[in-house]
Point group: D2
Chain length 305, copies 4
């Protein structure tokens, strides 16, 4: 296809080999193993994080520390961010010492945090003014996926920029979807979280009913998996519930942050999400009870009582 | 235990090879292909249905028609029922012309309808008084599963009776789970439907949000399948929604019947199911709009508006 | 008033004075004080109840005991029932020893229980065949209203029969509404309970939020009463919640019975009631916790946690 | 405490009679009639609004226009604000040309907008640093209450400041509740809106069920008012629904803004509000359908279908 051809050609100018100097900002539970994977793959890595200590292992392994996102950007061909929320991304990108302050035209910026699509679009627009090419590329798959390079990566932005980054993204995850223009990656991530939330409630109500009726939960999980009631949640978190294991996995407080973003986006679009709103409120019982850092499967406890 | 011993002995008399004469009552969308599968496998088949015409093809293929469940039972080693609801099962089994009226001691009775677990337990208790051994064995997998013998069968009742029937059940489905004592098969089926209902809502809210935000639904389905948001519903019904295809699959009115049973069982157990109650109410909009015979994926339309 | 005069005239054959002999079946928490009020007003009272002892005080005060509803009916011009549910009404009215078995043509039958409108309609139809004129006349106002004769009475049936009974109903309550034909009284009662249920949830969520935010609940109740947020529930049950008093008033288990009837009626009419379904499920937490005999204001505890 | 002593003293200087010069910022549907009421009562009024034209009538009647909130504040003993949301209040108060920029120590600032309690607390804290005494004093009662001086006013802040303002507040409304410290007035207002929202849903579900069952809605409204199902919503908006009148009253988009604030406050407090979340989502259907400027009673249409 012509488009592919063009992409291949224009890519020439920013071929993968041109993206040797990689910056990484935000070295939390997700960012650290992802940055390590690029370092191991031979990329020159410059890093910044809120807490210097988060970078110790990476620096010991050969990464370079810089004191601000701007300094990281100044020495990079491509900069990735994995920080906590919209406000953190805005500060790290648009702030006085932010990525854009240090960026030269031609820089590629890839935000892999989960944030509001509207913020991703604003950053992309600002990037365009400065000649920085931006992608929003949130992931699903959790810490395990980050370590094992099995993340699913949902990308918003233009196809050429994605083509240029693809070799790096393929080191970070195994499934890369180009969803649409700027913000579309974030939108899909929030759609993903909406589905996760209600699939969790499905598991929680189903297993609570089963348990109350005296069924063995492992039998239930085994029986429903593979049929019309089958889901990743039942198959993966069902056995944890059966074992009384409510450790994360994915923390409730992070799921709540994502559901809040999804509900806010839905509000802007006038899209009713009554089920998701219910899930969000039911998780609130766990937050009220001090369980915000348990795994999302703890929703079972709200139902089972 | 003596009883077990006796049961074991009496079972000798009804070993799989002894279950040659099969009765089938209820020849609807599920029962007909299932009965055919047994006929094709070489079993002698006697049938009864509310409408005589439902049996025409089976009779043409070698089955014998009888004018009442009692007459069917009188000539069978094992009788299956696939009828619409608790009341129908009660009439067909306990009624004046019902299965038990024609049953000799030693008969095996397998109800594959989806009904209230309490009714299954009552039938099993009555069966025990009469020397009829009962299983509740509802299925999941739909008409397609019935035709292709890929049903999942959830069995309540004692293990020996199940062992005796297993060769026949293995002709009907591919996954047979012994859940527990009488009623446990039905209970699991309702748990299964609770999970299905909320997984449907997950798909409906996720895709409605995606569509409202301008994403391509096939891209969404493809991207979320296989990850933490993955489910049978998204993988199988998501593409139908994307194509605007709301034909059944599984009809809304049947899903509603099953959710009502689940909610009633939950009420008896004082088990809250707020999400399932919401799903049940949202489907109501489709019933009100005359869409009760559409497929369950039409829930999308309630969300998308 | 003229209308009253006309009513008096058309009443002719069944004028109030003709309804001297009153039967009362069901002497629970509501029926006993209501029957007493008629006895005190000078009516000849014949009674039956499931437990003979429920009638002791009434008999001591001059009422006559009979051993079946049929016997009560045989000696009465008008029979009232106040029993627990649809099944109880059906047994007491249509059963072998029921009201209709003893009724002569011309008897007036007034069911003041809260039951399914469809059952009221069936009884009215059967009554018509036998020359018994039937009203469904459920009440709201609770035990207090029954004692103090301040009940609100919602009547379904024909206007003439209501006119004939009105003098007796005016002894029992203070507000009598002729809603429509047979079943309409029950329908309005269920509508009333739907509104009560959600007004309760309004109070519960509002006060829970206020309490969590550190406001004084009595200040809140005082401030919102009389404004757009005002309701009987806030004004009457709010102070109980503020005082930590969860005694009934109206028991949760009775509210749940009424909500179940409302949801079943709504299901038949394909009317979605998502809020009512939520209320019904939230009360379930109290049933699961053994609090089904607390007052409905205990819903606050489900929200406040 | 010294501060209290000082406050007591300084209050001498700002006794009611000292509060002659009144500033009013924000002349929308609520602010304009309220400002008029003070003007009519003889207070010297200086005004500012986003659109100059909003002040025309007031200026014609004797009020003075100033070009910024700071200028208004510089010439006033007390300043009121009635603007749209938290962001508007922050700009109008804390902005470069805001109230605080022009305020002399001793000024009283009363915000009558409905905003986030946390913003009210932040403003009060900033006011304290500058010697400006702040009250949050949101109202309920709508445009009609504003015109007819029947508003209910919910006040957060210290009692002495309230005492100083009371003569003015008594011109604006008829019920003044001192709820607690800074932010408490806003908190109560949001509690009020939570109750309003669910009382609306109660009315909507009740009347939808009644209508679907064929009852006359005016009969229903009349019958349930005054009993346990009685509420301001049923009594005042029920007749509008019965008449098919969905004009505001109170606009859906404003109710939604308030519910959003309530849900955000609840999120900070980890207070579950499942019913309120449902109401918020159901109103979304009306927003999606272009009906955000209809009256809140239009929720009926979401239920009735």
């Amino acid at each position: 296809m012509d488009v592919a051809g063009e992409t291949g050609m224009s890519e020439g100018a920013v071929s993968a080999s041109a993206l040797r100097r990689v910056g990484w900002i935000g070295l939390g539970i997700m960012g650290r193993p992802m940055a390590f994977n690029l370092l191991r793959a031979g990329y020159a890595l410059t890093v910044y994080s809120r807490r210097r200590s988060s970078a110790d292992q990476l620096v010991a392994a050969g990464a370079t520390w810089r004191d601000s996102p701007a300094q990281v950007a100044a020495e990079s061909d491509i900069v990735f961010t994995t920080v906590t929320d919209s406000a953190a991304v805005e500060e790290v990108v648009l702030g006085k010492e932010g990525v854009f302050a240090g960026a030269r035209p031609g820089l590629i910026f890839v935000d892999m945090s989960t944030i509001a699509p509207a913020v991703s679009r604003r950053i992309a627009a600002e990037g365009e003014r400065r000649g920085v090419r931006c992608l929003d590329a949130p992931v699903s798959g959790g810490e395990k996926g980050a370590r094992e390079r099995t993340l699913s990566i949902m990308v918003g932005g233009d196809a050429e920029t994605l083509a240029a980054c693809r070799p790096l993204l393929e080191i970070l995850g195994k499934k890369i979807t180009h969803v649409g223009p700027a913000g579309a990656g974030q939108t899909l991530k929030l759609v993903n979280q909406v589905i996760c939330g209600l699939n969790l409630l499905a598991m929680a109500e189903g297993l609570a009913l089963a348990d109350r009726a005296g069924l063995d939960l492992n039998t239930v999980v085994e029986a429903v998996s593979g049929g019309a009631a089958g889901s990743w949640m039942v198959a993966n978190l069902g056995p944890k519930v059966a074992a009384g294991d409510f450790t994360p996995g994915f923390m409730i407080k992070l799921q709540q942050k994502d559901l809040r973003l999804a509900l806010e986006m839905a509000a802007e679009l006038a899209q009713p999400l009554p089920g998701t709103a219910l899930v969000h409120q039911l998780f609130r019982y766990l937050e009220a009870g001090g369980a915000a850092e348990e795994g999302t499967q703890a929703l079972y406890k709200v139902l089972r009582g």
